[in-house]
């Protein structure tokens, strides 16, 4: 072959089977609760049965006398160590173990350390807590009423339940747009509280050595490095003496981002007893105390001209953050990225206001694959567009196609300031409509309506912003959201990539190996990926908000390119040519115009570790490090169509078809990308039709087990129909965007729009999620339910 190589001869992208699966299918995964250490003790937490009460006394004597109990820790114990309160990820504090009051049902009060799991739980029943009950604040819409009980009297001078007011967009311009509109439609809607409920609950094993001062924590953590720094700050331990190991994680979805009281209790338990202490919550503890998601009471308004040109959007949101503001998002954004709520449409002006309030419910807010509240934003705009279509008598697809941003508008700065990196929206919607055969579906629907059958067709189009983030804009408690990566190529050309992000099922061990292999002309089998251990990986902020591929994935590509550039210099010495005479073929460095003279990475690695004379200024060996600070978010998008059949007699909804066309830029491993989309679609089914964490008027949690908090099974989920378009990100090193949360963000409005489309003959405009049979039936009767509160 003599002609010059003009394109890479090598790709490592593609549907490579996952490396992780070899251990998982054999039952040889290594999850935190699988780990047993010699002499290990077990912890259990006593929790409040009440939503709001003053603690009069805690009597632990009987528990301490239990023959198998080694320690009983209360808030008083922690106060002596200045650990009774811990910082949250939203500049608030949260009680580790309650000292003054309990503020939600399930709040942590005491921690028992015993010889085994069962004894620890036995001893909880021997602790006697005397309470003085206080009236709870359950309904967020009443949290700011004058005279509402003040939940956070621990905060100096606090006399109400207000947390923050926040706004984005141009109010005057939005008001002007609305004033000039032919049509304005408004709607109240609730995105109810849900819980990510990974199948593995949260837990930790803490092992503190007084002799070495070393603390090792095995934990279900999506962000081990951030946890290490936070522990160092909280505990006053030197950070280099703290090691966080996140082994295999049984799903995260945002549930495993924060530090929970149980982790700190396990650490203190180990410090007190001198033994490793394991703490694992049960399912009820998981659902009732760890971070919830959503709980946004929203009012949306959309303005348009009579021909269906959308010109303005407004939203007012009341955000229920629970008893402590433990919402986990970049510090400058108290409402997360909600203000991307103009979605995928070319409109003139937008303005949103968000008010956060305390209630007597568990803390959290940002969790569950929401891309920092983009879930709520997309739901709002996609419901509003459907309501506008209804008002105008336009087809919902036609209205969207008319208003979608056009490809030539990218990069596009939306009215609230986000710069969307790339997109071809009409193409994605058209692909989805083609897969669905949209005109045929509408024909079928019309026929069925004639026969009194209720079939719905719902659309949604979403734009995400993922990959937090540019560090000048985005930090978690002051830690900038940039990710490190290091790459070592061994003498025989086998490589080890170390990354700071943490897989919880996303397949990083495979995908990231593909990224490096692609850059270096290797096979993915030649690259091992190390993650989940702060002693073995460079610093970074972890995996959530779909940031792994946009940030750590970019770091992997950049560090591989650094190695490739170093390899070039070594190759030039090997081939005795100037580096300027070399070109990368995709597999090897070769002499321009003489491709027979070439060296691949394995040959170069051996030489780099060998005796060859290297050019001045070139160190031996073949490795590199990098820190990737993303210049912008990436903006994946997609078009979803959901077909439902609704039984008006029972209110039962059956999802017949679900078409999802996702554009997440370049797909490194399409098999894994599709798996990510499948999972998110199932989440959408759960949220739209089944899942809600509701409360009764006393603040009792009504979603405290899987018998009450219903998750989708094989029976509710259809066989997904996927499509893809590829619009590379212009600023990401390999053009990839995140995809982990796209379907969770995009699918709920498609399902809700579909059900409401089915109910159109009944004159139903809106109903709040989850659209359970009871909710749908009630809506058909012309009434509505508050899904977040028990019906009195």
């Amino acid at each position: 072959m003599t002609e010059p190589v003009t394109r890479p001869e090598h790709t490592a992208y593609g549907p490579v089977k996952r490396k992780e699966d070899a251990r998982f299918v054999r039952g040889q995964g290594n999850f935190t609760d699988d780990i047993q250490l010699p002499g290990m003790l077990h912890g259990a937490i006593l929790r409040s049965p009440l939503a709001h009460a003053r603690i009069v006394s805690i009597d632990t004597l009987a528990a301490e006398s239990h023959p198998k109990v080694k320690a009983v820790i209360t808030g008083e114990t922690l106060e002596q160590r200045r650990l009774a309160w811990m910082p949250t990820l939203s500049q608030d504090v949260q009680a580790v173990l309650a000292t003054d009051k309990v503020r939600f049902q399930g709040q942590e009060i005491a921690f028992v350390v015993a010889e085994d799991r069962y004894s620890a739980r036995d001893a909880l029943e021997l602790i006697n807590v005397e309470y003085e009950q206080l009236p709870p604040v359950v309904d967020a819409t009443k949290a700011l009423d004058p005279g509402a009980p003040v939940i956070r009297d621990d905060l100096a001078g606090k006399q109400d339940n207000h947390i923050f007011d926040w706004e984005a967009g141009d109010k005057a311009a939005t008001d002007a747009a609305f004033a000039s509109a032919d049509v304005v439609v408004g709607q109240d809607m609730l995105y109810p509280r849900s819980h990510p409920a990974p199948l593995e609950t949260c837990g930790a094993i803490a092992d503190f050595s007084e002799v070495s001062g070393q603390l090792t924590v095995w934990a279900t953590s999506q962000a081990p490095h951030a946890h290490r720094t936070l522990y160092a700050l909280m505990l006053g331990l030197p950070e280099h003496k703290i090691r966080i190991i996140s082994p295999d994680i049984g799903g995260g979805f945002g549930n495993k981002v924060p530090i929970y009281p149980g982790y700190l209790c396990a650490i203190v338990g180990s410090m007190i007893t001198g033994k490793p202490v394991k703490w694992f919550e049960d399912r009820s503890e998981n659902l009732m105390s760890t971070t919830f998601a959503r709980d946004y009471h929203m009012h949306g308004e959309i303005a348009a001209t009579s021909d269906g040109t959308i010109i303005g959007l407004r939203a007012k949101v009341l955000a229920d953050h629970g008893a402590f503001n433990g919402s986990a998002q970049p510090s400058k954004f108290p409402a997360g990225f909600f203000h991307i709520f103009t979605g995928s449409y070319d409109l003139r002006a937008a303005h949103c206001e968000v008010t956060g309030v305390y209630t007597n419910k568990s803390p959290g807010g940002v969790a569950y694959s929401c891309s920092f509240r983009i879930t709520e934003a997309v739901y709002l705009v996609e419901r509003m567009v459907d309501l506008l279509a209804l008002e105008l008598g336009m087809d919902a697809a036609e209205l969207r196609m008319k208003n979608l941003l056009r490809p030539e508008q990218f990069p596009y700065t939306c009215p609230t300031g986000w710069e969307y990196d790339s997109g071809n929206y009409p193409r994605a919607l058209q692909v989805a409509m083609d897969i669905a055969d949209y005109p045929e579906l509408r024909r079928e629907q019309a026929e069925k309506r004639e026969r009194g059958e209720y079939m719905g067709i719902g659309l949604s189009f979403f734009t995400e912003g993922v990959g937090a983030g540019p560090r000048k804009h985005m930090d978690i408690l002051g830690l900038g959201m940039a990710d490190g990566a290091s790459l070592r190529v061994h003498p025989t050309g086998k490589a080890v990539l170390s990354v700071s992000c943490q897989t919880q099922g996303q397949g990083h061990e495979t995908t990231f190996a593909q990224i490096v292999a692609h850059e270096l002309g290797l096979s993915p089998d030649d690259v091992d990926v190390v993650h989940g251990d702060t002693d073995r990986t460079p610093f970074g902020l972890g995996t959530y908000g779909s940031r792994s591929t946009p940030v750590s994935g970019a770091a992997a590509a950049v560090v591989a390119r650094k190695v490739r550039e170093r390899a070039k210099i070594v190759a030039s010495a090997m081939l005795e040519v100037s580096p300027d005479d070399l070109e990368w073929s995709g597999r090897r460095w070769q002499v321009r115009g003489d491709p027979e003279k070439a060296r691949d990475i394995a040959e170069i690695a051996m030489a780099a570790h060998g005796a060859i004379e290297l050019p001045d200024g070139v160190e031996g060996h073949l490795d590199a490090e990098t820190v990737y600070n993303p210049p912008n978010l990436t903006h994946p998008f997609g078009a979803y169509i959901c077909v439902t059949d609704v039984d008006p007699g029972t209110g039962q909804v059956q999802i017949r078809r679900f078409i999802a066309v996702d554009d997440c830029g370049v797909r490194i491993n399409p098999m894994i990308v599709e798996g990510q989309v499948h999972g998110g679609l199932a989440d959408g089914v759960g949220m739209a039709l089944m899942q809600v964490i509701a409360f009764d008027s006393n603040g009792n949690c009504l979603g405290g087990s899987f018998m009450d908090y219903l998750l989708p099974t094989t029976m509710e989920c259809p066989s997904w129909e996927l499509g893809a378009t590829v619009t590379p990100s212009p600023h990401h090193p390999i053009g990839a965007k995140g995809v982990g949360e796209s379907a969770t963000v995009g699918s709920p409005p498609a399902i809700v729009n579909s059900v409401l489309d089915a109910l159109r003959p009944f004159g139903v405009r809106h109903a709040d999620m989850p659209l359970t049979p009871g909710c749908v039936w009630t809506a058909i009767q012309g009434r509505s339910l508050r899904s977040d509160l028990a019906v009195p």
């Binding site: 054999r26 799991r117 397949g507 798996g675 094989t714 989920c717």
Partner: protein, 170 residues
Amino acid sequence: MQITVNVNGADYSRDVEARLLLIHFLRDDLGLTGSHWGCDTSNCGACVVWLDDTPVKSCTVLAAMADGRKVRTVEDLAMKGAGEAGGGRLDPIQQGFAECHGLQCGFCTPGMMMTARWLLDRIPDPSPEEIREALSGQICRCTGYENIVRSVLWASKHTGGSVASAEADE
């Protein structure tokens, strides 16, 4: 109390508390951590093992109830003695899950595979609907189920097990 349970072909005699759950007996006493615990209420199926050839949710079975009976867990799925490196040749259901991306975090996978193996032993060529019905009492939070169904279908069509023979079939 003293119990003797045959787990994956070997007898284990242990002195246990009467209240000890089978899942904790398997995981904590025998160190068989392939079976997982997920909910306590028989809803999720992460703990599914076979008790005398029938899938059970071992979080709601007492270890004492397994006394004198046979238990089979995920650790027993791979065929023994096939001589292949890496711990024996995989059962087709294990291969199916790896081939079809039927798992992500891997936490529900052992339970799913145990039920699927049981299904295939009774209905060698199940329809997607029969697979969904069989797995309907178990929860996966990652995959949206589609690839699990495909994994079981794959296994039903590749009964010989190995990928090589599977490809030869096609």
